[in-house]
Symmetry: C5
Subunit: 297 residues, 5 copies
């Protein structure tokens, strides 16, 4: 089991350390863990994600939910940040999600184009920026080039950089798929080698290994898998994402295993806001009970 590194061990610049400190110790549980509310599914999947709970289609509802639920931050695209963050600016940290795409066109060579830059984030008072990297995509060259600019800008302005490290593409599919241990492990490492401060990964599924490389064709437990992923991320904080809506027990299990492995925290969207208001807050409360058990070392 890896232990979570301290902020002072990460080689961070002053601006990044200041903002991460604010996010991790002045919001949420306040003990150095994190729970983020992502809300860019209206772009990524379209309004259909709001049909289960139509109120969630209104960004004003979501900002209020983030505030009331005591999240460490809300992640949205620039259009929503401009129109809706104003209402509660400063009351909950903003993570400006810089890139994003619709799911409409075929994604054989996926690349998530930039819709905003780090300067937009600074202008809007964001405390961090988010970037989706499709690790393994045939468009890797363009993705890395785009990311490099974001990394340099985030360094210049002192904004922490959260990478949504998503394995994608036919080469990934052929070796166990995007949720396989192989894919998630490699994605986490890629993010840290290229300069992420925080990496968001899906919880790895070690049973997915059809076609996997020999090295990854071994029986390990989910706990061992997330532990290895956190170690591969080496001094890059790890957030485990919720993915599609699932049952409460499964969610809480994932959360506990991730925190045991040394993760920083959670980033749960649809699993939160597709539930009715009260149910969402109830789940959040349970998650916060878990996070409270993992204070910063």
């Amino acid at each position: 089991m890896a232990s979570r590194p301290q902020l002072r061990q990460l080689g961070l610049s002053t601006g990044k350390k200041a903002r991460l400190h604010r996010i991790l110790f002045q919001h949420g549980v306040g003990n150095g863990t994190a729970m983020f509310l992502p809300y860019d599914q209206g772009l990524e999947h379209g309004p259909r994600d709001f049909f289960a709970n139509p109120a969630a289609g209104d960004p004003a509802y979501i900002v209020k939910l983030a505030l009331r639920g005591g999240f460490n931050g809300i992640a949205v695209q620039v259009g929503l940040a401009e129109k809706f963050y104003w209402d509660y600016a400063g009351e909950v940290p903003l993570v400006l999600k810089l890139n994003g795409r619709t799911e409409i066109p075929a994604a054989d060579n996926p690349l998530s184009p930039l819709n905003a830059d780090v300067a937009d984030a600074v202008r809007l008072g964001a405390d961090a920026v988010g970037y989706t990297m499709y690790v393994g995509s045939p468009a890797q060259e363009a993705d890395f080039a785009q990311f490099r600019q974001v990394r340099e800008d985030a360094h210049r302005y002192g904004l922490p950089l959260i990478v949504w490290a998503y394995p994608r593409g036919s080469a990934v599919d052929a070796k166990g798929g995007k949720d396989s241990f192989y894919a998630v492990d490699y994605a986490a490492r890629t993010a840290t080698e290229l300069g992420a401060d925080i990496v968001k990964v899906n919880f790895p599924h070690p049973e997915l290994r059809k076609g996997a490389r020999a090295e990854y064709d071994a029986d390990i437990s989910p706990a061992q898998a997330i532990d290895a992923v956190v170690r591969s991320a080496a001094r890059t904080y790890v957030l485990v994402s919720g993915g599609e809506k699932a049952g409460d027990a499964a969610m809480l299990d994932k959360a506990r295993m991730a925190m045991d492995a040394g993760a920083l925290g959670l980033i749960f969207g649809r699993n939160v806001w597709q539930r009715p208001w009260d149910e969402a807050l109830a789940l959040v409360d349970q998650l916060k009970v878990i996070l409270a058990k993992y204070p910063a070392p």
Copy 2:
């Protein structure tokens, strides 16, 4: 039924608010609604669109029509703005349409290239800029990148940004087509997430759902469809376009349903200028009677 948000609720910068106020309250009906006259079909479709009413091929005729009809603005490409807006500069607001293409080459991966930038709009005294986004096109990455620059420039200069949100591409065709509720709804959401101030959509046709995703395979009325689209646009004003020339009753019905749903107004081109001068003005008068019933809240 959604209600139209107030200008002060949109998180607008001073320059954008000033210009939108001028467009919405000092022109047209003057009650915060809008009716625009688009005139870029000579580029998009070629001169054939003028054969029904040859006088309309002369941009000078169109500018006069916009003025006499009391439109809130006229939308043209830079070449016509430079040669014809001078005559009546300041008397009717100018929306500089920044991108556009001819229909000649195949449009498998449609992208509407920039023919002018926001600085051109400022130089010409325009009060807003227009941008066509082909939501769902395989060229989405280039489209979003191009749009980002336009959004940033519009922010810098304080010009309101109107997005022509047009679903396009084989993936759209396979799920109900460009006028399906699915496609129009997703396009409206995309525009607001990426930073449009106003979005122009076609009136959605909920009966078009062959191949649609399960979530969109439901019986709803046109009124329900436009209502959902306006809600998806969340704090981005909605303009309903006229599309190809149709009968008066159909036009007026569309207009009423859109305004009931909380739309900002209408953008009718061929339905206006392909009619003879007097008939065009008569239709415009009827539309203004409708708009007058929906003052800003």
Copy 3:
């Protein structure tokens, strides 16, 4: 029959108006008409175009011909402008042709790359710049993007912008071809919408309409066709090109019909310099007799 607009009606900036005035009233016939000598065929077609009259392969011969024939300008690529315009700099206006290509590689997606920019034209004392736009090419997006930069630079420096509007590509071929009324009409409109000051078109052939759109499948005369093209060009001056070498009577007929329709003038290259010196000047004299009958209004 359209009448030619006055210089003061075009919304021109001071610099463009000054230079156009110089070209139109201080050179050639001097009555506001124009006759240009294009000489970029050595690049576009190679030296074979000079085999009919080898002397014409020497640019020094051509500059002298332009001077002696009393042309309103000579259009060449930057290499020839640098090496040969010096001799007679200021004695005949220079139109710097900014883009051009060889005919060697297949032209399925034609785009004419820039070989010089507007700043080169300013440096060389040119009075106008020329740009070839392949209207209808699958490379339309790149073409429009490239043109936009040229248009902006021409605006910044106050140089009139002449667009060689050439319909091209398989979609054009399938609807009557590059000389059809449909194609020439659309090309002229495209140039004016995108910001040309002057557009060069081939004389339209209304009999070419195999596969044409229904709207263009009508019996009209060549005179009606050129009249419609000039109207579509709306406040963009029209130059009719000579194309491949043809007989004198045909040339003079074209010239008269174009001027009757409101064209600005002519741009004849191979029809002039592929003839021996004396024959070339004789044809030019006949063309000037025609132009003299169409003074500026």
Copy 4:
């Protein structure tokens, strides 16, 4: 047998000479030879390279190994440099590896995208930068263009530029493969012609010549092959890489032949850190004994 050129014979700028002097004479054996520890395999191959010795997955372990082993430098990607070099900054030279890719997507047209620039290297106190060039790749044009920018920046900042010259692509495979004498020889020459200060090559295998050009279809010994490669590199220092993990005797043989041929030194990664700590240091000691026999002339 070529002799290794002196630093003063290379036409180096002051900054490059200063940093190379520091690397070659103030670290490692200190006699002008070099032994580098490359550690970007976590990106290039993924975490699987660490399975043989899990401790090696932690960059902190590697930096310590470089220090304790007395290497002349450690080569890592920017993310690891930012998070882990801080601990021992200045104690062992840093080579910032500027480009890199994952092995996941197919590499038919390989290009290694830039993940950092020379300015990042300066900011981090690096003493050199590294660049992977895929000589022979169909993406050669983009590779050379990218390299040119790196070379110019390295010149501007005075940082020595180490080129990982890797033959790649189907045309290489068809002529003997990436380790053939033909391929390695051409790659070394390409690096020197384009401006490398140091070139890293795989040890050439002269027996690989199936499909080779006639000129290269000759029986020569490995010693002759590496000698020719060093001569082709003409005043660009040569580092021989270890490649995949192999036996000690083979490693030491390679090292001796390379140094005999006039190479600068060695760059061994997996052959070092995939062994347990003590075994790794034992191998390093043996290599240093060899290097000690080849002081700068």
Copy 5:
């Protein structure tokens, strides 16, 4: 027979004239003719070109040969210029070859990427720059765009620009090939239209005309062919290249015909340095005897 133009007739800027004067009248035969030594074959063909005379693989040998042979200049890539020109800087003019490629990947759409820019040439004290243009390549658009930047930079810094005008591509192969009169003639014209100061061509082979255009399907002599090429180059000085190694008599014949036609001189590489030192100098002496007979007019 064309006569060679004087330096003062070329419309050159002061800087270009100064440097060309230095090259043409202060080096080589000193009578306004030129003989250049190109040495970028190590990149273009790889080290195999040195197998005939291994000493020639060492750039130091070549620089000495250029000096001893009394060449008007040596043309190398930036890497060799940095490492080897220093020794004799100023003693023989340097032509920095700006672009180049390896022959390894297939060249269906050849483009020679830039490996250095004109500023590098200025920094290294070069007196001219060289650029390879693949006339007729499907990559023509990118080639012309790249060349434009080089031309503008060469103008800004006042460096003469030598174009290696190489016909390439399947369309060239289908009309007689890269050495046909058609191809060489068109290539020479393209270089002059686009702004070359000097153009390097292969000696045209008028017998190669299988598939040639009708205009080029005629019986002419080699002397007539080179004469036509020099005329097509109109005020752009012509250098005839040696190509692959051939016999002395053939070389001298080519040289005489070229000079008779008005060429500036010769650019012979492999024909010189693939011979042993003494034989190379003997051939050079014979070539200089020829050049001495063609002083500047």
